[in-house]
């Protein structure tokens, strides 16, 4: 009897333990399910956002006929259509092959135009290789008998830039050029704007001196996209080349000009989209925040100059202090200190 009871008890124990274990395992499973994903304080936090690996080009559709290429140095803007391809800036030289491959994924039509927003290496480095892969539509047959003026080089894309960009890329006589001759701008302008009509879209190139005296901003009026170059750098403070005509006042004024042509959609978002020189795709709000930051820093340094502070005292006062965690750099070619110094010197000059 005792033995039987024991057996029954054992059976009884087994009868509830199995489902209990099952339930416990379900609970454990539920706990695993409920905590899957990224959790603060655990590995993987904060959520990692995808970005191109070194050597890779990310192609982002912007809107209309316009795309943004990331990963070749400065951002590259591509407009593609039946008439061919137009690119704004060409990245660094060593990424040209990858850039061309990315462009070919978007369109196999001829590459007709390159527009340079500024002459920095990460904007013009690919000019020669990428221009060489394109071709210009001839407006007349070449006349080789007429000498150099008659021989049209239609076997490369046309490179458009403000005149001073050409001067600095070609260099003074006797000095080595900054980039190979094939990449020099051969279609310059020296008035407030140059206009094209390409792929069924008005394209307006605005002269907006900022980092130096040669900045261009490119408006794609049908796609409603602006390619801003380094006038808008969402990864850092803007470079200012005083000797080449750059200055903080010019940056603020050109940012205001950029705001003028950037129309937000409902609730101050979207609408005209902006491809910055560096960093993520932007819209009106990002430009306004950046303008506000530049204006505030300019006003502070201006006030310090009025109060007689020296450059070292201005640097010590850290006029950029609340923005440094987001935009500042302690290393590399363009540090926060160099930016503050450039702001100071540009205001002293003016």
């Amino acid at each position: 009897m005792t033995s039987r009871t024991t057996v029954l008890r054992r059976r009884s124990g087994a009868s509830w333990r199995v489902p209990a274990l099952l339930s416990a395992s379900l609970l454990a499973g539920a706990a695993v399910v409920s905590t899957q994903g990224v959790v603060p304080g655990q590995p993987g936090w904060p959520p990692r956002l995808a970005a191109p690996a070194p050597g890779e080009i990310e192609v982002l559709p912007v809107q209309g006929n316009v795309y943004m290429l990331v990963g070749a140095g400065a951002n590259i803007t591509v407009q593609a259509g039946d008439e061919g391809v137009l690119v704004v800036d060409t990245g660094v030289a060593q990424m040209s092959e990858a850039v061309l491959a990315a462009i070919r994924r978007l369109s196999t039509r001829p590459l007709r135009y390159i527009i340079n927003t500024v002459e920095y290496d990460d904007h013009v480095g690919g000019n020669a290789a990428i221009a060489d892969a394109g071709e210009t539509i001839p407006f007349r047959a070449p006349d080789y008998a007429a000498g150099p003026q008659g021989a049209l080089d239609v076997s490369k894309a046309s490179v458009i830039a403000f005149l001073t960009v050409f001067h600095r890329l070609a260099g003074a006589s006797g000095t080595p050029p900054r980039i190979p001759e094939e990449g020099w701008p051969d279609n310059t302008y020296s008035i407030p704007q140059k206009r094209l009509y390409f792929n069924g879209e008005p394209i307006v190139i605005l002269h907006r001196p900022a980092n130096n005296d040669g900045n261009s901003v490119v408006l794609f009026r049908k796609s409603d996209v602006v390619s801003a170059g380094d006038l808008l750098d969402l990864t850092g403070y803007p470079r200012i080349d005083l000797e080449a005509g750059g200055g903080i006042d010019r940056i603020v004024e050109s940012l205001n000009g950029l705001i003028d042509v950037t129309v937000p959609a409902a609730n101050a978002a979207g609408g005209t989209l902006v491809v910055p020189g560096h960093g993520r795709l932007a819209d009106h709000a990002e430009v306004v925040y950046y303008r506000d930051m530049m204006t505030i820093i300019r006003d502070r340094v201006q006030d310090m100059i009025r109060r007689g502070l020296t450059l070292e005292q201005v640097k010590a006062a850290r006029p950029t202090r609340e923005y440094d965690a987001r935009y500042g750099r302690d290393t590399g070619p363009w540090t926060t200190e160099r930016f503050v110094e450039a702001v100071y010197r540009s205001l002293i000059r003016s």
Binding site: P19, A24, A50, E58, I259, A266, N267, D303, E322, R326
Partner: protein, 296 residues
């Protein structure tokens, strides 16, 4: 007999618990009326008590000017989604998107009446967009169930205000929102992580709504201003150390007589232990009129 009943009870309990995560995935869809809640802070302009500002966040607030709201470009800047949950008492509609073929939940979409902010909470396990995509006022959100709470993680946010007096969060912030439905009530807890302007996560806990299907939603057309008190191209701000905001005036008294040191904010001011420290500080005595959003 009683031991057997006890075991059965344990078994039933375990089974109920085990099934809870599935059964408790409640539906948060509906039209929701906000319930009155405690305002965050005293309401004095410039008060940051309880906000874990970093040094950068403090400096940013020090130069903020109320005229910022008069900048033509900012006239249509909306309250971001996470601010709208806590800031204005505004009705909200949440609806679900279901894949017809599988009948699985794809997303919850939300609309807040105030300034018509909208959000999407993707429930289909999709990955986050590239870091180079456009950031928005509502960001990109994914949701997953944690028991009966819907946990939403939001990235791709634009910079915006935590309080409308210069307390900012950056475009690098990540916001976690825990939604809970309790019968006809909906509750949200927002935890904000910002490596730029916050030294520690900032938690908002007081948001509560009641289901009210009859609530209407109003349109909110907004047109960019052409003429405002701030001339074109100006960015209103106060130079360092020269802000006249009452929150930064050591003698100005808010409705709670919060000491000036506490009004500067910072992580310490979030915790209950800080209440004891408050007693060590001088209480401001000079009343300030018209200095708050909610009265002196």
């Amino acid at each position: 007999m009683s031991r057997s009943r006890g075991r059965r009870g344990i078994l039933v309990g375990l089974l109920i618990l085990a099934s809870a995560p599935v059964l408790a995935q409640v539906d948060i869809a509906g039209v929701w009326r906000p319930l009155p809640r405690n305002q965050d802070g005293s309401g004095m302009t410039g008060d940051a008590a309880g906000v874990p500002l970093s040094a950068a966040g403090r400096w940013r607030a020090d130069s903020w000017s109320p005229a910022d709201f008069d900048v033509a470009e900012w006239v249509c800047r909306p309250h971001a989604w996470d601010y709208s949950l806590e800031g204005p008492l505004s009705q909200m509609r949440i609806w679900s998107e279901v894949d017809q073929a599988t009948q699985k939940l794809v997303a919850y979409h939300g609309h807040i009446n105030q300034q018509q902010q909208e959000t999407s909470i993707w429930m289909d396990g999709r990955s986050r967009p590239s870091a180079n995509r456009l950031h928005t006022w509502s960001g990109f959100s994914t949701g997953e169930w944690d028991g009966n709470a819907l946990v939403v993680t939001t990235t791709h946010l634009k910079e915006t205000y935590i309080r409308r007096s210069g307390l900012m969060r950056s475009d690098r912030a990540v916001v976690r929102t825990r939604w809970k439905r309790i019968g006809s009530f909906l509750q949200a807890t927002v935890i904000m992580y910002d490596p730029v302007y916050l030294a520690e996560p900032y938690i908002r806990t007081t948001m509560m709504w009641v289901n009210d299907p009859a609530l209407p939603m109003e349109p909110y057309p907004c047109e960019e201003a052409t003429e405002t008190a701030v001339s074109r191209g100006r960015a209103p701000h106060f130079l360092p150390g020269r802000s006249p905001l009452p929150g930064l005036d050591p003698d100005a008294r808010d409705r709670f007589a919060t000491p000036y040191e506490a009004r500067l904010g910072g992580p310490e001011t979030m915790y209950p232990e800080y209440i004891a420290k408050l007693r060590e500080f001088r209480r401001p005595t000079r009343p300030v009129t018209a200095a708050t959003e909610f009265g002196p």
